[in-house]
Structures are given as structure tokens and as C-alpha cells.
Subunit: 310 residues, 2 copies
């Protein structure tokens, strides 16, 4: 299986520069810095991969539009990227998606199609076929992985002596890209994935040396709604090649990390975005002096956020 | 009176680069971007001016230490800057300062001296005298103004065609520096100061063409605790030279801006830091296409923040 290379990621960096925010590293404490991808337009790193995937299409293909079927940050990212390129986007959402999410997706100019949860993926492929549009997958695609890898490129540029990079893991697009970049540029650094205990399938898989599947109903127990997907063969191949370990955090540790990020770095972070900092806080004393945690997103329901902050 | 120049600000930019975060502009909506100075270490733009003031001291003078008597973000900034230079800092705080603020100041390695509120300034000057240390004023100093001006330099670098820059006003160090930079580099842009209605003394002064003094007890009514100071002759001279207007916002408008900043840009912002966005929201349709609001700080009591977010 052909893995993404550092050259792919470097090329992605120049393609995404017009719309992606060059996020700075922010001080969390004397040893930890955070990479606040929650500050991207649409509130998550997903814009990097989605925009890069669109940028790599030919003008002709892109003009026919794009389709996505995520209900989360990836859908927002595809809608935003399509708007930036001035091409149509259709986002397939489950009928029970929150009204605020539907409105946000429409706010970027995308057409929203609501279907029963179970039909989302099939309907998205059907739509892409009938429209001649391109389906942009959330992580199982080399261009998406290369786009997410620009996070790793920037971390090493800003902290060349980094010792450890902590990265949230779900489908694995982010950790695959970041690990590829970090291992190429700073081989001495460790790259550690982080999952919720309640969706710890990638951690178990990496230990087993093969993909271990958890039921969706199990993975859906975590409050970290962005971390309920499972790796693909492609992302798992990157993890086996470049990720040193995957650790897990509890739901209470995630909530505490959200509180600490609000207080100490003044960031609004969603549960999925806080797991890397939760892993740091779990055993603060054990991490080396130059640790970086990727804060992957900030799209949290204001009521949920207010409750956690109390 | 000798005003700060764009050369002073350019020189400041290279001096503060080692510790100041190069904050990106973040998308708020199609017309407004925000400059999130809440992301600086210590959570406010104040680090720029304080660090610059220390950087401009000779090694010998700086080694004797620094003193500050703010109870807010400036004290944290001086303590942080002193720590970065490895020199002692004494921060004079009022006896009734919140325990969390005292602990934070000590956390940066500063010595805290608690005195009755009314004695703060006198005690700070006395200490500086007896220790041979340098008092770093919060805004009434050319080096401090030049340091804050680097915010304006970065805004124009990132958005060369900016039409309007909205800036919080208290003692006026920030708005003086930002206006100096913006008017030098992009004369067509308007620079608008923003104050709480309940502490609108600078707005009244600018309209009157002379410093109008409000009682401290009046200025202290606003929840924006960082905007209760009053301009000095030096900062007012900059405002008269470079600031186009100063507008005011209500307490409810400030709270709404805090909610919108949390939801739409995923930032935790203190009341003082939210006034420029509040001014934008007050008459959204009237601002031009390329407006930038400076979000000056994010140090809000977690309980107060949780209450506003509900």
C-alpha cells in the first residue's frame, strides 16, 4: 500500500495556504504547547484535508461539484472548501441531525439532503454518481491525509526540537498525516495517538498489529462525537508505520481537559479536540519537556460547554 | 509631545518576537476578522508592551528588577516578561485581590506585595526607589505603546486592504500603538476605539477635544474590568492624532459578544476583550467588508464565563 510522503504533505501545504489558518503553538504550561486547530474556519483541522482534496481535482471535475456524508466537522469543511472554490456541494445528513448543524451547513451554501442514518453512505455515492460529482471521504484518501499532515509540518517548523506529539485518533486521517510529517522531519520525536477509552479500537488494533473492529454501538458511547469512526486499511498502514503508541483517556479526563483549555489557553474545545491534552494531564510528570498536543476542534454545543464549565 | 513612530513599532516587533505569539486573524463572519490577543501567554496583548519595555532596559538596569502595580493583565505580563529575562519582579496588588490572581502572579515567579487599594501606586514607586528597580507603567510610556503597536503592524501585514480596525480603549496604550501603526501603513483605514458605555470617558474626551475625567466610581460600574482606567496626556495625544472615533457598547452587548466569540470563533474572551466585537455586532450592516476587531484578552473568571454562556 502506497503511503503518503513528506513531499505530498509539503505540496499540500502550499495548496491549502490561501484558506487554512497558520495556527501558532500556544503555551499550556512549561512543558506542553497546544496546536489550536479549533481556530480554523469551520472550527476544526478537517478544513486542511477537505480543501486539499478539492484543490487536487482538475477544474473541470471540481466544477461538477462535491459530495460528503459526514454529520460532523468534515461536512462543514467540505462545504466551506466548495464555497471557497465556488463549486456546488451536497452534504448528506441524517434526518435526526441537530437543526443548528443543518443550518450551519446551509450557511456555507451547501445543499443539504436529509436521509435515514443507515442510508447516508449509499445515498452519497448515488448522488455523486448521478451528479457526476466527486465524493470527498473524511479520512480514507491520500489527499485528505496529506492535507491533515500539514499540521505536523507546522508543529516541527515552530518547535524543531519537539520530543512528543499527542494526536487525537478516530478514522486516523489526522494522526496518519501528522505522524508522516513528524517522523520525516524529526525522527527522534515520538508520535502518540489518543482515543477515548469508550472508543479505543485503534489503540487495541495497534497493539494487536491488525485492525480490531468494535461495534458502532460501543464506539458511540463516548462524548467525543468526532472520535467514533474507525480506521481504514490505509490509515492503519500509516499508524503501523509511524505511530509509536495509542493511549486512551476517560470521559472525566476529557471534561477536565476542556476546563483546563478554557482556563489556561482561553480556547473553546469540543470533547474530541481535548483528548490529547487529557492524555498529557493523565500523567503530567512523565511527558518530556517539549510536548505538543493537537487540539483538533472546537465545535461544542454551547449548552454542553456551559455545563462542563460549571 | 513626542509621539511613538512606525519605526519604534517596527523595532519593537523584532524585540518581542521571542516570546509574543504571532496571532493569526480569525474569521468571525464574511466581513469581520478578529485578532485574538487572548491567545498570548498570560492571555492578553499586555505582554507585548511589558516585554518590550523590559527588552529596552540595559542589562544592568533590568537585572535590578521591575515593579508593577496593576491588578490585572499588565501585572501578569510584567511578571511573565521578568521571568523570561530571568530578572526579579515585584507586583503590588490590592489586599482584596482574588486569591486566584495572587496565585497566578506568584506562579510566574514574581514577589507579590499586598497593600490597601489606595496605597498601590505610592507603594510601587517607593519599592522601585528602594530596590533600584524599574517601574513598568501599564500604558503611559512610549515603549509600552510601541510594544502594543505591534498588534497593528501584524493586522496590516495579514490584511493589507483593511478598511476598519476596532480596538478596545482603557488607558489607551493599545489603541495608541495600533492606530499609529495602521495610519502609517494603511492611511485609508479608519481606526475606531471602543469603550463600555459605563466607562465612556475617552469617547467623551475625544469628542470634546480635551481630556474629560470621570470619577473612578463611575468607571468601575462596567463588567469590563480591564477598561476602567483613563487615558494619560501621552495616550490622548496619540488618540487625537490617529483615532477616527470612539464608540461605546452596553453591558448586554458585551455579554452577547462573549457568547458569539465562543460559538463562532471558539475563543474564551473576557468582557474587556469583547467590546470591539460588540461594536461590530451593534450595527453589523454598517461596517465595511474588511473590518478587523482586536480581541484584547481572555482572562475571565470561569464562573462568570459559565454564567454568561448559559
Amino acid at each position: 500500500m502506497e503511503l503518503v510522503t513528506i513531499s505530498d504533505i509539503r505540496a499540500a501545504a502550499s495548496l491549502v495556504a490561501p484558506v487554512v489558518v497558520r495556527t501558532p503553538l500556544l503555551r499550556f504550561d512549561d512543558r506542553l504547547s497546544v496546536k489550536p486547530e479549533s481556530l480554523q474556519p469551520v472550527g476544526a483541522f478537517k478544513l486542511r484535508g477537505a480543501y486539499h482534496a478539492l484543490a487536487r481535482l482538475t477544474d473541470e471535475v471540481r466544477a461538477r461539484g462535491v459530495v460528503a456524508f459526514s454529520s460532523g466537522n468534515h461536512a462543514q469543511a467540505v462545504a466551506f472548501a466548495a464555497r471557497a472554490f465556488g463549486v456546488p456541494a451536497v452534504i448528506v445528513l441524517p434526518e435526526n441531525a441537530p437543526a443548528v448543524k443543518i443550518a450551519a451547513t446551509r450557511g456555507w451554501g451547501a445543499t443539504v439532503e436529509l436521509v435515514p442514518m443507515a442510508d447516508r453512505e449509499a445515498r452519497a455515492y448515488e448522488l455523486a454518481e448521478s451528479l457526476g460529482a466527486t465524493l470527498i471521504p473524511p479520512f480514507d484518501h491520500r489527499d485528505v491525509i496529506a492535507g491533515q499532515g500539514t499540521v505536523g509540518l507546522e508543529i516541527v517548523a515552530d518547535r524543531p526540537e519537539v520530543d512528543v506529539v499527542l494526536v487525537p485518533v478516530s478514522g486516523g486521517g489526522l494522526v496518519s498525516g501528522v505522524a508522516t510529517a513528524v517522523k520525516a522531519l524529526r525522527p527522534a520525536a515520538r508520535v502518540i495517538g489518543v482515543e477515548p477509552e469508550l472508543a479505543g479500537d485503534a489503540a487495541e488494533s495497534l497493539r494487536a498489529g491488525e485492525l480490531v473492529r468494535w461495534q458502532a454501538v460501543e464506539r458511540e458511547r463516548t462524548s467525543a462525537d468526532g472520535l467514533r469512526a474507525e480506521p481504514s486499511e490505509l490509515t492503519f498502514a500509516h499508524m503501523r508505520a509511524y505511530v509509536d503508541d495509542i493511549v486512551t483517556v476517560s470521559e472525566e479526563e476529557i471534561a477536565e481537559a476542556i476546563r483546563r483549555l478554557a482556563r489556561d489557553t482561553r480556547l473553546v474545545v469540543e470533547p474530541s479536540g481535548a483528548v490529547a491534552v487529557a492524555a498529557y494531564l493523565q500523567r503530567t510528570e512523565e511527558w518530556p519537556a517539549r510536548t505538543v498536543a493537537v487540539v483538533s476542534g472546537g465545535n461544542i454545543d454551547p449548552d454542553v460547554f456551559a455545563k462542563i464549565m460549571q
